[in-house]
């Protein structure tokens, strides 16, 4: 449904071209949560920006439902890591969530209903009239997620969304993402450098190498749904998958370290 074929992205630099992503190909199935995990500096964000239509790949392409992505598609929503700058500080939480819905065909009542439902979903019904900077970091990221939920995208792209929230909030937000996927059937493309998080959330995990990054391996995560922070993570299969992915990433880091030595 979302197909990435032989995607390559090269940035011009003073020393010539820097290839962040090379020969990247994979397919994300409808309704699945597909994680991209890799060491930092693996060009994950570059890849994601190309998929989201924010940047154009140097070669290769991204296809969504048979059409090439040549700009941000209307059916996509993004949750960035930098929630503070992604939200509008001068608009209330309610307006932040509502703004993407202000388009033809959405009545005020319909928008209002979707904003209320989305904020209730993330547990922020009381914050509708607050400004983002009056909320904690975790709450701000929940607003960003509520905005994505209310938008009802077919594909939700999340770029290390929980990298700057505390551990407890992170666990809560992970379960929120699983719930959204369960209830709405949204396809989710999730970028992270956290192995536990990728295994816990995903149907499949793609391990990417350092730049120029390519896919080293795609791992099927056959853990039962619904997942639970304690029960799922206690399963031997979780431990095995986690060790497998972790080992793969460590080898990549190790290899490049040796290569540079």
């Amino acid at each position: 449904m979302l197909i990435v074929t032989e995607l390559e992205k090269t940035y011009p630099t003073k020393k010539g071209g820097f290839t962040a992503v090379r020969d990247m190909s994979f397919t994300v199935q409808e309704g699945e949560l597909f994680s991209i995990v890799g060491p930092s500096g693996a060009g994950k964000t570059t890849l994601l920006r190309c998929i989201a239509g924010l940047d154009r790949p140097t070669s290769g392409g991204v296809y969504f439902q048979g059409r090439e992505v040549d700009g941000p598609p209307e059916d996509f929503a993004i949750v960035f890591q930098d929630y503070a700058r992604s939200l509008l500080p001068w608009a209330t939480v309610g307006t932040n969530v509502e703004l993407p819905l202000m388009k033809k065909g959405n009545t005020a009542a319909e928008r209002n209903r979707r904003v209320t439902t989305a904020l209730a979903e993330v547990g922020l019904s009381d914050a509708v009239d607050k400004k983002p900077f009056q909320l904690s970091g975790g709450m701000q990221q929940r607003v960003a997620i509520a905005r994505a939920i209310a938008y009802r995208p077919k594909v939700l792209i999340m770029d290390e969304p929980f990298a700057s929230v505390d551990a407890q909030t992170r666990a809560d937000l992970e379960d929120l993402v699983l719930r959204v996927k369960e209830e709405t059937g949204t396809t989710i493309l999730f970028v992270t450098h956290d192995v536990d998080e990728s295994v816990y959330l995903s149907n499949r995990v793609a391990m990417v190498t350092r730049s120029p990054s390519r896919i080293a391996e795609v791992v099927d995560i056959d853990l039962p749904f619904p997942r639970d922070q304690i029960a799922t993570k206690s399963l031997p299969e979780f431990a095995r998958l986690r060790a497998h992915v972790f080992g793969g990433i460590r080898d990549m880091v190790h290899d490049t370290t040796l290569a540079h030595a």
Binding site: G53, R85, S86, L88, L99
Partner: protein, 270 residues
């Protein structure tokens, strides 16, 4: 008894910071005025050029009942506010346009960079020749000076929107108008507020200058009239009046600025 005694102490303690905040500048001003009074009364400073502060105040109070102060103040303030309105309005409109349309700004940049540093005062002869010596001349000079001060920060402000906010707008397919209305204009507002405060000073300076040099009615004209009439006390009274007018507008604009920054969640919104 002890409770009654301790009460005023406690109250004084809690109110001390505020008292100190008000008292310090008041004391500073009082000391300066007192020093000026002492130096001029003892003829250390020649009283012919520097009349004692008390005399300036007496002259000022006397002027309050006179027919020239009201119209002079009105004339200056009217031109001043009009100049501020025009320069901020025009500067904002053009600045937003140039901020949004980069090719246009690149095209006009040499012109802006050439015109911006031209001192408005240098245009006075030209203005007298073309516009004449009415209040229109002062208006033009003030607007010319303040326009650039507004234009440049507004261009910067429109472009100061965070890249992530703009990416978010694109990924949610917001319309161009939504992007401008909700991201770029609000990003620009704090820059505009600061520019307006600067423009308020600039326009006042230029208008008083024009009144002194071109001899058009207003505070500046009264200042130069007093000088030629050999009445330094009256001259200083009008100088003080122009300073007071500047302070009042500055305080008003600063208040708007603070409120704006607070609503943007910006630091320094004390």
């Amino acid at each position: 008894m002890t409770a009654v005694q301790s009460l005023p102490v406690a109250r004084r303690r809690t109110s001390r910071p505020r008292v100190a905040r008000v008292a310090r500048p008041v004391v500073a001003v009082a000391v300066l005025i007192g020093a000026q009074e002492a130096l001029t009364r003892t003829d250390v400073l020649p009283a012919g050029y520097f009349p004692p502060a008390s005399e300036i105040v007496r002259t000022f109070v006397g002027e309050l009942g006179d027919d020239s102060l009201g119209p002079a103040l009105m004339s200056t303030v009217r031109t001043w506010l009009l100049a501020l309105l025009v320069s901020v309005g025009l500067g904002t409109a053009v600045g937003v346009l140039l901020g949004l349309v980069r090719p246009l700004e690149a095209f006009l940049r040499p012109v802006i960079e050439f015109m911006r540093p031209v001192p408005s005062v240098a245009l006075i002869p030209l203005v007298v020749l073309t516009i004449g010596t009415g209040s229109g001349a002062a208006l033009f000079l003030a607007c010319f000076a303040a326009f650039w001060q507004v234009l440049v920060p507004v261009i910067t402000g429109v472009r100061s929107a965070p890249a992530i906010a703009l990416d978010t707008a694109r990924s949610y397919s917001l319309s161009t108008w939504q992007r401008i209305r909700w991201i770029q204009l609000p990003s620009m507002l704090p820059h505009l507020a600061t520019a307006t405060r600067l423009a308020a000073s600039t326009t006042l300076i230029l208008i008083v200058t024009a009144e002194i040099i071109i001899q058009m009615p207003g505070i500046g004209h009264e200042i130069t009239m007093s000088r030629s009439a050999g009445d330094p006390a009256r001259m200083y009274a009008y100088i003080a009046l122009s300073g007071a007018a500047g302070i009042v507008l500055n305080v008003l604009v600063r208040r708007i600025e603070k409120r704006l920054n607070a609503s943007h969640g910006l630091e320094g919104s004390r």
